[in-house]
């Protein structure tokens, strides 16, 4: 709770010239960072405390299963892993289609712990990977913001990021997903980029490529980096900020980074072949041209230079046109213009809903609503504009990067709710800058107003330090490329500060006049602290209440205490222990990962959704009448069908509510499934007004089979209506398991009837067998002794 305030309080102490105070500031900053790390870790443990140490949701189960495989079989087996438990009968090459960063990270942690004889299970390691990396991410935020606006802003931003709800939603303990490590990798890559930009050190440039490599390993969102950094480089060039440091920051990243990225099997040649990466190459060329021009400019006289420019521009334009034409032709020859569906839906938000229902059907691919912004970043939404303004005074290479980062991520988060996650660090960084600058201004004003407290020398000290913004402004003006001088006390800037000492002294008088009145600054300070407190309260609430549910265990509070709905695991455990190990289970793809991980049974489709036709087949089966569905499933060698039904307890995200997507996806491939057949006057309903197609489809029947016997009326609590068709029999399926709250129902396909050749033969053989059976059983019953 106290972290933002205390970090803000630490700001003045850090900037003193006094060595002891400097050291004290360093130690304080270190401990604040340590506490931020602890807070980032512990705020994510609500899920473990309120529920249990368990893997959450859907995708994490897949990652967990892969990690188990890795821990058991080693890295080489992992790369060559062909998984035959999923996408039956196609299978899936896991090693080549998965971003291995997360699993390798957790696998390495597990291996390290085990070699130290700390016998933690793979599950425990997986559960706590995300909180650990959140702590790393907040430290990386500190480093990044420190490069941009100094230690104070860094600490504030780190504290904000440690508890931003948007990030918590993806990194609570148990949420073992790619994003958990990818956000850290993203921020750290940006930090190293800025660091290289500020120092011009090849060491950091190399580290930057490695961090980028880690990011590529971890998440498909790496394309954001490889597009944002070129954009920033371009921005720097256009605004005349080209320098050799920019070159060092960018060129090694593209060369090394692309080479390293191509090493990741899932990326491979995509790193040079798809449109997502073209921007970086284009900027790479531009950068070289600009560097070359600067070089030529340096060795030629201005007159000669002008001649050379006209010459080169005319030739260069022609070459560029030719190259661009070839590129465009290449890109246009591919059907999706070289862009993957998810990327395209980023550029054109309506793309997915128009063409790819399977992407649109995922809730995290929908555009967010305004309340979700407030929910996910809370007061940061108001602080971001202030932070952007602070970034512009003065505008350095680093702060322009932050501005660009936030601008692009705002757009992306507006397209897909999932990308709020990329937006959150940017919002934290800008808000951290804004808060820190505001605290700076107010505390400085108070100091000036209270000369009794601050001695004259101290005022001087505070003056020189706290007016760094001003001084920095001058520095930047004097030498544009040199900024954030205080962070790197190079000899040059030190000298400069010394030179400017009389200047700042003179400025102090001016500052005294500019300082805010005492009472208003105190009130503003209090208001800011209140804002911070509100943020903390909201974050803790969000972490505890909104984002901690593991979604495989549901709880409800009623007057007689907490009620636990553990139906999913009940069903998976039943499948695991009471079906044959090679049985195939069909369900909608949402439950594929969980079924393979928890029940260890082969599934037809899963959350990977790489094969639309296969999913459409399952969707078609679910929306077909019983016999047709049985034929489809039988052709897929399916033995059990699993449906999720929330009608008895009111669990809203069940298969009936997802059913229209099954129809749409199925209909997209098999045109005999038509969405209007399932809708009455454009309305989706399951009551007595529902269409006969709807009431006869397999999903309806499997969900509501014998439902009427529970309460006599068959009242569906999710749809708040009585169902349309209450009494019906299943002819091709039989119920084999239903969980305690009816949330998961498992049906078995009845075996096909024996083929009968001739009628007479059939009746004969039938009667004979039955009679003999009857005879035997009769005798057996009466007296087992004869």
């Amino acid at each position: 709770m106290a972290a933002p305030e205390s970090s803000a309080a630490a700001v003045p102490t850090l900037y003193t010239n006094n060595a002891l105070r400097n050291a004290f500031g360093g130690v304080l900053a270190f401990f604040i960072l340590l506490l931020i790390g602890v807070m980032a870790f512990s705020i994510r443990l609500f899920s473990v405390i309120k529920y249990e140490s368990v893997i959450h949701e859907f995708d994490p189960y897949f990652n967990y299963r892969v990690t188990q495989f890795l821990a058991k079989n080693g890295i080489y087996e992992f790369w060559n892993w062909f998984d035959d438990r999923t996408w039956y009968p196609l299978g899936r090459v896991i090693g080549g289609t998965v971003y291995p960063g997360l699993t390798l990270t957790a696998g390495t942690i597990w291996w390290l712990l085990n070699s130290l004889n700390i016998p933690l299970s793979v599950e425990t390691v997986c559960v706590f990977t995300a909180p650990i990396f959140s702590a790393f991410a907040s430290w990386a935020t500190y480093l990044l913001t420190k490069e941009v606006k100094g230690t104070g802003a860094g600490l504030t931003a780190a504290a904000l990021l440690a508890m931003v709800p948007s990030y918590i939603s993806r990194s609570v303990a148990g949420s073992y997903d790619n994003e958990a490590v990818a956000i850290f990798a993203l921020i750290f890559t940006f930090y190293l980029y800025i660091k290289t930009l500020n120092t011009g050190s090849l060491f950091y440039a190399t580290l930057n490529s490695i961090a980028y490599f880690y990011m590529v390993c971890s998440w498909g969102g790496y394309t954001f980096i490889i597009n944002l950094i070129p954009m920033h480089v371009l921005l720097c060039i256009v605004t005349g900020r080209f320098s050799s440091r920019l070159y060092i920051a960018y060129a090694p990243l593209v060369v090394l980074g692309t080479l390293l990225a191509a090493l990741v099997p899932v990326v491979g040649f995509n790193a040079v072949m798809t449109s997502e990466h073209f921007a970086s190459f284009l900027v790479f060329i531009i950068l070289h041209v600009v560097a070359f021009v600067y070089y030529i400019k340096g060795i030629l006289t201005p007159k000669m230079f002008k001649v050379a420019v006209t010459l080169v521009v005319s030739v260069g334009l022609a070459v560029c046109c030719a190259v661009i034409a070839v590129l465009v032709a290449l890109v246009a020859s591919s059907p999706t213009k070289g862009w993957s569906g998810r990327s395209l839906s980023l550029l054109d938000p309506t793309y997915a809903s128009k063409y790819i229902p399977i992407i649109a059907s995922v809730s995290e691919h929908q555009p967010p609503t305004w309340p979700s912004y407030f929910m996910d970043i809370n007061v940061l939404a108001f602080l971001v504009p202030a932070g952007i303004i602070a970034c512009f005074s003065p505008l350095s290479d680093a702060s322009s990067f932050v501005v660009l980062y936030i601008a692009t991520s705002v757009y992306f988060s507006g397209v897909m709710v999932r990308l709020m996650l990329v937006f959150a660090p940017a919002a934290c960084i800008t808000s951290g800058i804004a808060l820190s600058q505001a605290f700076d201004v107010f505390t400085r004003s108070i100091k000036f107003q209270l000369p009794g407290i601050a001695s004259n020398t101290e005022v001087d000290a505070a003056e020189t330090s706290s007016s760094t913004a001003e001084a920095q402004n001058d520095v930047v003006k004097a030498e544009k490329s040199e900024e954030t001088s205080k962070n790197r006390p190079s000899k040059k800037s030190k000298k400069k500060e010394k030179e400017e000492k009389p200047l700042t002294k003179a400025k102090a008088e001016k500052k005294r006049l500019l300082a805010l009145p005492l009472d208003s600054s105190v009130i503003s300070l209090l208001l800011l602290i209140l804002l911070g407190a509100l943020y903390v309260v909201h974050c803790v609430w969000a972490a505890a209440e909104a984002y901690s549910a593991p979604s495989i265990v549901l709880t409800s509070r009623s007057h007689d205490g907490l009620h636990v709905f553990d139906d999913f695991r009940e069903a998976y455990a039943w499948l695991r222990h009471n079906t044959d190990v090679d049985d195939k289970v069909a369900s909608w793809w949402d439950y594929g990962y969980q079924t393979t991980a928890m029940a260890n049974r082969t599934v037809i489709v899963d959350n990977n959704t790489w094969n639309n036709t296969h999913i459409a087949t399952v969707g078609t089966a679910m929306s077909s009448p019983e016999k047709a569905a049985w034929e489809i499933f039988h052709s897929l060698d399916v033995k059990y069908v699993l449906v999720v039904f929330g009608g008895l307890v009111g669990y809203p995200s069940d298969d009936i509510n997802k059913f229209l997507w099954m129809v749409r996806i199925g209909g997209g491939v098999f045109p005999h499934i038509k969405e209007p057949d399932y809708l009455r006057d454009g309305q989706y309903r399951i009551d007595s007004q529902a269409t006969p197609t709807m009431l006869n489809c397999l999903m309806y029947k499997l969900s509501y089979y014998r439902f009427v016997e529970t309460d006599g009326k068959a009242f569906d609590r999710v749809r708040q209506t009585e169902i349309g068709k209450k009494y019906f029999k299943l002819t091709h399926f039989e119920e084999v398991f239903t969980t305690h709250h009816w949330m998961v129902r498992i049906y078995k396909l009845k075996p096909p009837k024996n083929r009968i050749r001739g009628k007479t033969k059939k009746s004969k053989s039938k009667t004979s067998t039955t009679s003999s059976r009857a005879k035997r059983s009769g005798t057996g019953k009466k007296n087992p002794w004869n």
């Binding site: 004889n117 695991r569 009940e570 455990a573 039943w574 398991f737 239903t738």
Partner: protein, 467 residues
């Protein structure tokens, strides 16, 4: 279908062989049993047989060994045999436990297996004594029909002999069988046979020669669930910091008639008395008192349906599997708990330490097919030796746990076919020097110290090339 036929053949065969034995074998012993009464309890899935024998030494030499005979089919399912002798006169009789050991005899007819009871005082000629023998069979009730639907009740066969198999001449014998309910489908009649309520009486039969055998088959209703733990691994970890951590891995199966066809939750929930009567809904585990941090989970996480009741003498953990177990259904789970060390660890007179803990399975009324008890001794303990009241297979292992360097010695004991009678204490003796307790804290402290020294050194060393 085939079972009755096979049973008939079996009957014929045994009758023939019986005749053969009667002709062939002469009473090799001078003992005879003047009166035998056998009570067979069939109410649960563990068959309990109480045998009261009045043994008389008709020979001339004193003997202290009395043989019990079992047919080979029964001996495989025999979990335990106990023998008690009644001492004293009418008023104040006391029971004394006797040694019972399996014995091989060279001329055992038809693969008969023997157990020898060793009397404390030899039985002189002409004397007689009364023995109380208790033995338990597991897996001896064969469900028939072998597969039942959800609403059917479970019927089982029990096979035995109306006459007690014995190498001695039995003057008079009676067998009582107790069934769980009055519903008995059929039973083999061998006059005189009476049936009243839940009890059946075979006998009394007079003057049967040695190795008399007369198979009987009883087909009756037994709706109690048959909880069978196929494999149980108990790991007891001793920490001299004051905790005894017990982890138990169960593979549970319902050993009754296999479930067939549909499982309908609506029937199961609305008519619990008619549907799934033999299903296994919950289990009761009796844990030691002062148990703490109990958990109950399986490989996919915590199982929320359990209740713990503790009082000063015992703790009871009521656990429900994730789903009700029908015949043939399986479930695996783990129970773990901590116990205060001072309740179980003691120092023996010769300066060694010993753990006194309960062997067997804490679940009530369960059969354990295979039990492995692993006692993990603290790192640095030496000379482990286990004292178990019955024969077990033993060997040693090494386990590496938190920050171990040399590893912890694990005493592994394995036993097959256990029943709750086996829940008796066992001891593991070992020597341990308390200084070893400090090894790991010291290691951690020195690691941190080295880290700080390294940090200080790093801060004071200038490795730059240019000055």
């Amino acid at each position: 279908m085939e079972a009755p036929i096979r049973a008939t053949e079996f009957l014929r065969f045994t009758l023939l062989s019986l005749l053969f034995f009667v002709c062939r074998s002469s009473p090799s012993h001078d003992l005879l049993i003047s009166n035998a009464e056998r009570r067979i309890d069939l109410t649960s899935h563990i068959v309990k047989v109480y045998l009261t024998l009045k043994v008389e030494n008709a020979g001339s030499t004193p003997t202290s060994e009395i043989l019990l005979a079992f047919p080979p089919t029964q001996v495989d399912h025999l979990a335990t045999v106990e023998a008690l002798v009644t001492k004293g006169k009418r008023k104040k009789t006391t029971l004394a436990r006797l040694d019972v050991k399996p014995t091989e005899l060279p001329d055992a007819p038809n693969g008969t297996k023997y157990f020898t009871i060793y009397l404390a005082n030899p039985l002189n000629s002409g004397e007689s004594t009364t023995l109380e023998v208790l033995y338990l069979f597991t897996h001896s009730l064969e469900p028939f029909p072998a597969e039942i639907g959800q609403s059917e009740s479970q019927l089982v066969y029990y096979r035995d002999s109306a006459l007690i198999l014995s190498p001695y001449h039995i003057k008079q014998q009676t067998t009582f069988l107790k069934t769980p309910s009055t519903k008995v489908e059929s039973f083999t009649s061998m006059e005189p046979t009476n049936r009243a309520g839940t009890e059946m009486k075979y006998g009394p039969y007079e003057d049967r020669p040695p190795y008399s055998f007369s198979p009987i088959l009883i087909h009756f209703e037994n709706n109690s669930p048959f909880p069978v733990v196929e494999e149980l691994v108990r790991e007891v970890e001793i920490s001299h910091w004051g905790n005894l951590q017990v982890t138990e891995h169960y593979t549970l199966v319902h050993g009754g008639a296999r479930h067939k066809g549909v499982f309908s939750r609506v029937d199961y929930q609305s008519r619990p008395n008619l549907n799934g009567v033999s299903s296994l809904r919950y289990l009761l585990a009796r844990l030691p008192p002062r148990v703490h941090s109990v958990y109950y989970r399986d490989e996919i996480g915590n199982i929320s349906s359990s209740h713990l009741r503790t009082d000063s003498r015992k703790s009871e953990l009521e656990i429900e599997p994730r789903y009700p177990l029908f015949g043939g259904w399986k479930a695996t789970f783990v129970i773990g708990y901590g116990l205060p060390l001072q309740d179980f660890l003691f120092e023996s007179s010769d300066d060694r330490r010993y753990l006194n803990f309960t062997f067997g399975c804490p679940l009530l009324d369960t059969v354990v097919d295979k039990l492995t008890v692993k006692v993990v001794l603290p790192e640095g303990s030496k000379d482990p030796s286990a004292v178990v009241p019955f024969t077990v297979e033993q060997h040693l292992e090494t386990k590496y746990s938190y920050l171990d360097v040399v590893g912890r010695t694990v005493v592994v004991m394995e036993k097959k076919n256990l029943v709750p009678v086996h829940n008796s204490p066992f001891q593991v003796y070992y020597t341990f020097k308390p200084i070893f307790m400090l090894a790991e804290p010291l290691m951690l402290a020195s690691a941190f110290f080295l880290f700080f020294v390294a940090s200080v050194a790093y801060l004071h060393i200038d490795l730059s090339i240019r000055k």
